[in-house]
Amino acid sequence: MGLEHYLSIFTKAVFIENIVLAYFLGLCSFLAISKKIDASVGIGMAVVVVLTITAPINWYLWEFLLKDGALSWIHPSLSELNLDFLKLIVFISVIAAMVQLVEIFMEKFSQSLYNSLGIFLPLIAVNCSILGGSLFMVEREYLLSETIVYGFGSGVGFLLAIVALASVRYRLRYSNIPPRLRGVAMAMLLTGLLSMAFMAFSGIDL
């Protein structure tokens, strides 16, 4: 498969099937953090890093432990049901462990990166977009290389969406919004509009 195939997976993950705006994943941190632009960039970068690391690891576990091993009844054609309890537990533990590892690694080797991303890392363990990325990877039966591109692309999609929303919310400080619409309610309406704008990308033929 050529470069175009990977480019199309990447474009799909970033724009057309944006993990936040089309699949509603990672909304909790999306709404909570998007009040400030620099914090949004921070958590966006952290999501990119963690998704790019965990998706391939979970792919290996899926391919060589969960799919073929003693539990061979987990046939990929059934995986869209996502009913296999071991899959959930294994994936979430890998994510929690990886988040912890990335945090320790950063603290040791890159103090400046740790200072900017560190506080967001614990939040990411329970960010649905990370687990969602792994579950979608299984559901769509990606190859390893496709998984890496998909994980990275989904992370970039999250980064793009959260920075876009944060910028709009920043501008809105100067607008006169009805008092009880302020905050989350307004952020939801804005996300709806952003999502509508992103839907325009679905016209792209890949």
């Binding site: 509603f24 579950l135 905050g183 709806g192």
Partner: protein, 217 residues
Amino acid sequence: MELFNSESKKIISDPINVNNPISLQVLGICSALAVTIRVDQAIIMSLAVIFVLSSSNVILSVIRNFIPNRVRIVIMLSVIASLVSVVDQLLQAYMYDMSKQLSVFVGLIITNCIVMGRAEAFALKHGPSKAFLDGIGNGLGYGMIIIIVSFFRELFGSGTITLPNGGAGYVLFSIPESWYAAGYENIGLLVLSPGAFIILGLVIWFQRELIGIEEEA
């Protein structure tokens, strides 16, 4: 033990009303939107969340004195993940069509911030009976909002109201053919993701007007 004194009632009713997990605590929105295309999906999802939330609250509250603080997140996640697996298996066994429709979103209850949030904020600090009531209350508050959102999305988006049954769902109401013949059309946007965001935004706004809570910025 007085289970139904005023304090217990407050623990149950607050999350439904003035401290709603979705509209005021802003937790658990991820799954709230994906399952609101049809009312029956929203009802099943609410039941699943009520079950997971109340049981995880009770279990974590019982073992709260034995959990070392540093590893509490991993312990919480494993308790929650096991409970979600139970729900997953039950759905697969008894409501196969429904589990197929909900796809990855049942699994994503694990990372639903409501479950983690309530465990962290309430269950680890209170006794089991209170934690149970807190779980029921927050589950009901969550269910109320997603059922309202799904009602509007299904009625105006697809023109039906579907209730859950063992199979593909029981259609309680659908907009008569004569309306379509007279020029009525469903709003296709509501079925797509922007519709979910906008309806939920309006519901949150409406509820905050009712309760009278404002947020800064």
